[in-house]
């Protein structure tokens, strides 16, 4: 909200420089997003008369003007504005003037013609925040040669751009902001009562009101003003509206806007002669209704939207959001029906969202306006309108439908315990101090017993309804940064859970093994899963921003393959990713939320990577994390290579993940023309296998014997099975067994391969004799041959 300092000073005598005021705003939670100094840099700008305008001999877009700066002598100035014309009075920045923004005016030549100054627009003079479309044309009664700022009565001003929090309906207007500042700075504050004289004509004789829904519309008021002449607003009104970011339109509309900015009460002026049967009717839409709004748009209205209709039941305005074209104030309007109401914040918010139409009015109604401020606003509108229409007549009285007493309202009285204030804030305030901090901002405090006050909530603070809300106001006025800081200590020992600890460990293990952690979006594009060879069934977003991000991932394949492709396209080296994150399966039977689990996914896409490197990595993970009792089983899985993928099982045969290679067809669809090794773990299941406190096994102090065994083994028998047999047959004395060579070729038959193992044996209590070693070797050979139909390779 743009807040001119001069306007604030109508309500409280503010002093202090911009920095001080900025700090005060911030301390109050009225955050200053920007500050604009107005009216500075106008020394040297004078009122000049345009004597003649002629074409520039050598430029199309610039013309030459002779202006009189008061001495009667023509002075040539080049100017590009289309609205420049002979006879106008215009502001001219003379040579040496430094305009706002440190722009110094010098005599300069423009395509061979001298320009002796600058004819200015409003924004160049710092008088408008938006770029003006042409030069500023001044009223014709000014004295040529006079100082521009004196002639125009330009007041220096400062405009603060404040970010008003959602819980501050009272701060959506100048008077409310002034009240907050005055309270903080301990300055007097008052809102002057509007002074108006009513005529003898009763308002009820001129207009009729029917409110059909008092929940939608707890209060609706009508004033009628006749004998109005539409014209521009007085200079002060127009200037302030401009400073506050609103475009002046005409004296009637401006009066309504001015009062909204000043008092926070939105209102709407109707041309009474264009309101059928001079009647307004408040109801909800039934469906299939539409309206042309003031902005010229034809809008279909949702059912159950609040509307104001005329006597023919035709919609004339969308309640609390925007008026309609049908009863718009026009140049011929003479009778004005001024409407000021209170609307249900929820209803306004809902309709505003459905129409995707947010206005200054709806923003205020959503936060609930001051139900007691409506009549004052009506009188203020009339007062302002009469500034430009001294002969207009204000009909006697106000039509006032007031159901605010029965409307679901906030608590008006709240008990506030001083001890509670101090317990929440960590302060040491007395009963008197509690009152002193909040009475200046409208709360009325009655001490009913020592330590307990009854606080009357002002009607403009609908956000305050509980003791804690009043405590916040006390804190705000006391100053958040004046509250003494204290470091409380947790009675707990902080730390990671075992799962969190192991998750970090596995991430660190993988980076140590050369993998880089990726972060891919959980929001997929429709078709992504199908491209990855997976079912498209997934949880859909109801309101995605982009179609490409409208689906929750059920797999990491699409995301990681995209990341791989992104890097390969850029010819990046070392493309080996892992990712830890959630995946979202469809809800299981009877559940509302998706089957959300945390996974570790790995995609290896170096030149020589494939299922084998994925399997090596998995083996390193088992060793690095000390995972107990896992085993692999061949598996066919969507998206993965059908003959190069294995399921990973835990000791109780539970599935904890899979390892292998991405289906080459899938890789191709993601434009990856190499093999991609793949590993995926259900993290909770996998990390449950981490041996938490491994128990020591004795290490032999006697020399170990080592021997190698190579077998021709059928391809259908897994190397892991052979290893298990070796382990079982060697018994206690086996220290280690390790596959060190796999060979397919000459010696092995079709459908078989040679597997070579290195075994190391040692006893705990003696040096193994030669015959013991021979025995264990023979046992191992016999067992493998018998169990797997293998033969020792000679």
């Amino acid at each position: 909200m743009l807040v001119p300092l001069s306007w604030l000073r109508d309500f409280t005598p503010l002093e202090g420089d911009t920095k001080f005021l900025t700090d005060t705003f911030n301390e109050l939670g009225l955050v200053v997003d920007g500050v604009q100094e107005i009216g500075g840099g106008l020394d040297g700008v004078v009122v000049a008369r345009v004597l003649e305008v002629r074409a520039h001999p050598d430029a199309d877009k610039v013309r030459l003007a002779d202006v009189d700066l008061g001495d009667g002598q023509p002075l040539q100035i080049a100017c590009g504005a289309a609205n420049l014309a002979a006879g106008q009075l215009v502001p001219v920045a003379t040579i040496g003037t430094v305009l706002p923004g440190d722009f110094e005016i010098a005599r300069r030549k423009l395509r061979g013609e001298w320009s002796n100054g600058m004819i200015c627009s409003a924004d160049e003079l710092g008088l408008a925040s938006e770029r003006a479309s042409g030069i500023m044309v001044l009223p014709n009664d000014l004295t040529v040669g006079a100082s521009f700022s004196e002639a125009m009565k330009i007041e220096r001003d400062v405009v603060f751009d404040l970010d008003i929090e959602g819980n501050r309906p009272d701060a959506m207007c100048i008077a409310g902001i002034a009240r907050d500042l005055a309270g903080k700075l301990k300055l007097p504050f008052s809102i002057p009562e509007p002074q108006i004289n009513e005529s003898d004509t009763l308002v009820e004789d001129l207009a009729t009101l029917v409110v059909e829904d008092s929940v939608l519309c707890p209060r609706f008021t009508i004033r009628v003003i006749t004998g109005v002449h539409i014209g521009p607003s007085p200079e002060l009104i127009a200037r302030r509206l401009t400073l506050a970011g609103m475009r002046p339109i005409n004296n009637v509309v401006d009066a309504s806007n001015y009062v909204m900015l000043e008092l926070g009460q939105p209102s709407h002026p109707f041309d009474l002669d264009r309101v059928a049967k001079n009647t307004l009717r408040i109801r909800k839409t039934t469906g299939n209704e539409s309206i042309e709004t003031l902005d010229g748009s034809e809008r279909a209205l949702p059912a159950d939207a609040g509307v104001v209709c005329d006597g023919d039941d035709k919609v004339t305005s969308v309640a609390g959001i925007m008026g309609g074209a049908i009863s718009e104030i026009g140049p011929d309007t003479t009778s004005v029906l001024s409407e000021a109401a209170m609307w249900d914040p929820y209803a306004i918010n809902k309709t505003s969202r459905q129409l995707a139409l947010r206005t200054e009015a709806s923003a205020r109604f959503e936060k609930r306006i001051d139900r007691e401020g409506i009549l004052r606003a009506q009188s203020r509108i009339a007062e302002i309108l009469l500034l430009s229409n001294p002969t207009a007549k204000i009909a006697r009285g106000v039509i006032d439908h007031n159901a605010t007493q029965t409307w679901p309202s906030n608590a008006e009285r709240v008990r506030v315990r001083t001890a509670r204030v101090n317990a929440v804030l960590g302060t040491d305030l007395t009963d008197e101090q509690v009152a002193q901090y909040i009475e200046p901002i409208g709360f009325v405090v009655n001490l009913i017993e020592p330590g307990v006050s009854e606080v009357l909530i002002p009607s403009f603070r609908s956000d305050s309804e509980r003791e804690i809300d009043v405590i916040e106001e006390i804190a705000r006025m006391y100053g958040y940064d004046n509250i003494a800081r204290r470091v409380s200590t947790s009675p707990h020992v902080g730390g990671l859970s075992p799962y969190q600890h192991n998750r970090r460990a596995i991430e660190d293990l993988l980076t140590g093994l050369g993998l880089t952690e990726a972060w891919t979006s959980p929001l997929l594009s429709p078709g992504d899963l199908e491209r990855a060879g997976l079912p498209e069934d997934a949880v859909m977003l109801t309101n995605p921003l982009l179609r490409e991000e409208s689906k929750l991932r059920t797999s990491f394949l699409p995301g990681l393959l995209k990341a791989v492709a992104f890097n390969l396209t850029r010819r990046n080296q070392g493309v080996r990713f892992f990712e830890v994150g959630r995946s979202f399966g469809l809800p299981s039977e009877g559940a509302l939320l998706p089957d959300e689990r945390e996974y570790l996914a790995v995609a290896l896409a170096n030149e020589d990577d494939d299922a084998r490197s994925a399997s090596r990595l998995w083996s390193a993970v088992i060793d690095g994390m000390k995972l107990r009792g896992t085993s692999l089983q061949p598996l066919t899985l969507d998206g993965l290579h059908p003959t190069r993928t294995a399921a990973i099982h835990g000791p109780d045969n539970q599935l904890i993940g899979h390892v292998g290679e991405v289906d080459p067809t899938v890789c191709g669809r993601f434009e990856i023309n190499r093999r991609v090794g793949w590993l995926q773990l259900d993290l909770a299941a996998a990390l449950a296998l981490v041996e938490e406190s491994p128990q020591m096994k004795p290490v032999s102090r006697y020399p170990a014997a080592e021997f190698d065994l190579a077998f021709i083994v059928d391809n259908a028998v897994s190397a892991a099975a052979v290893e298990d047999t070796l382990r079982a047959s060697a018994g206690d004395i086996l220290e280690s067994v390790k596959l060190f060579d796999v060979f397919r070729g000459a010696q092995s038959n079709e459908g078989a391969r040679s597997l070579a193992y290195a075994l190391r044996v040692a006893a705990l209590d003696h040096t193994l004799s030669e015959s013991e070693v021979t025995d264990v070797r023979a046992r191992a050979i016999a067992a493998v041959e018998a169990t797997h139909g293998a033969s020792l390779r000679s």
């Binding site: 911030n26 301390e27 109050l28 939670g29 929090e165 501050r168 929820y346 918010n349 809902k350 317990a423 929440v424 960590g426 302060t427 804690i468 916040e472 804190a475 705000r476 958040y480 800081r485 204290r486 470091v487 409380s488 947790s490 009675p491 730390g495 990671l496 859970s497 970090r504 991430e507 993988l510 980076t511 140590g512 050369g514 880089t516 952690e517 990726a518 972060w519 891919t520 959980p522 929001l523 949880v539 977003l541 109801t542 995605p544 921003l545 991000e549 929750l552 990341a563 992104f566 890097n567 990046n572 080296q573 070392g574 990713f577 979202f584 809800p587 509302l592 939320l593 998706p594 959300e596």
Partner: protein, 346 residues
């Protein structure tokens, strides 16, 4: 006799110079053989001792021993020299340029956002907090209603929310903050509670240099007896100094969140200029970081904690924002590009 003696002397002289002139350890071994073997001159003279009379034997024998000793010393001395030069030669031959680095293993990296998250977690662990986690797809109850956003409340509009097609319309959301984890924690744990909840969150916002629709937050929650706003401000200060550095304190100004009352926004002293004002802090000396406040009594009521017995505070801020400040990231969107040239920098 004098002949023999003089033979020995000349022999000694000759062999000493020969041994000393050995060119390699092998050559020295050959020359030693020539000097000391049974067939050598010295060996022959030694053999001939038996035929001499006692006096002669004694005199010549002594001389033979002296010569042998002299020659052995000469050989030993030469051996030391040769060994030293052989070692030198070998070392020289082994000389390496250690900047010729080939095939170094490249460790990977933890994502910079995760690194930032871990660093933040560690600060709070040091302050006695645990890490709480929860689902990213949440019910309206946990994301909004229990946090004092009644259904249809206009304040919900400022939390740009993604809904998913589950259950009743708008009943399931992608969590807009990690606050639902706080609710879940309070439902399942008795106070005192000291937790932070980091995690992925979602806002229906068009991505730009400073925002992403999917991002990470870390939120803190303390519920205990006697907790005040002063504890909140102290906690924030302790954290900012631990994470951003000594002297980087925070200031609080009034703000609005439905789930806290009083609510505050907090800013930290700009650590680029130490509060003097610079481009990063828009010349204010302060950098906006997050929101905080005292837990609203309605939130306590929703989870069955007596607000008269316990008070508490909560705070939250963006993890990407911290990473951006610390690593000078110019555009957040690079974080999800997964360009290895970017990821490997951290």
């Amino acid at each position: 006799m004098s002949d023999t003696i003089s033979d020995l002397e000349s022999l000694a002289q000759r062999h000493t110079s020969e041994l000393s002139a050995a060119t390699s350890l092998d050559d020295l071994r050959d020359r030693e053989a020539a000097a000391f073997s049974k067939d050598s001159e010295l060996g022959q003279i030694g053999k001939s001792l038996g035929s001499l009379d006692v006096d002669m034997k004694k005199t010549v024998g002594a001389k033979v021993n002296a010569v042998r000793q002299q020659l052995q010393q000469a050989a030993a001395a030469r051996r030391v020299e040769l060994e030293a030069s052989a070692r030198l030669a070998q070392l020289e031959a082994e000389r390496l340029d250690l900047t010729e680095v080939l095939g170094a293993p490249t460790p990977g990296t933890i994502h910079v956002v995760k690194q930032t998250q871990r660093a933040l977690e560690d600060v709070f662990i040091g302050m006695g907090f645990s890490i709480a986690e929860g689902p990213e797809v949440e019910t309206d109850w946990y994301n909004f209603e229990a946090l004092n956003f009644p259904p249809g409340h206009p304040a919900r509009s400022s939390w740009d929310t993604f809904h998913v097609e589950l259950g009743e319309p708008e009943s399931v959301v992608l969590r807009t903050h990690t606050s639902p984890v706080q609710v879940r924690t309070m439902e399942t744990h008795e106070p005192p509670i000291y937790v932070v909840s980091p995690g992925q969150t979602y806002r229906r916002e068009t991505a730009d240099a400073r925002h992403m629709a999917v991002f990470h937050q870390i939120e803190g929650l303390v519920v205990d007896k006697g907790i005040t706003f002063g504890d909140l401000a102290g906690c924030i200060d302790t954290f900012t100094q631990a994470y951003f550095g000594p002297g980087i304190t925070a200031r609080l100004r009034p703000g609005f969140f439905p789930f806290t009352e009083p609510s505050a926004e907090f800013e930290v002293v700009c650590f680029f200029c130490n509060g003097d004002g610079c481009r990063t802090c828009s010349h204010t000396g302060w950098i906006e970081l997050g929101g905080c406040g005292m837990v609203d009594p309605n939130v306590f009521k929703a989870v069955g904690i007596d607000p008269e017995e316990y008070t508490g505070f909560a705070f939250g801020f963006g993890i990407e924002r911290c990473a951006q400040l610390r690593h000078n990231l110019d555009d957040m969107r690079i974080l999800s590009d997964n360009d290895i040239r970017f990821l490997s920098q951290f």
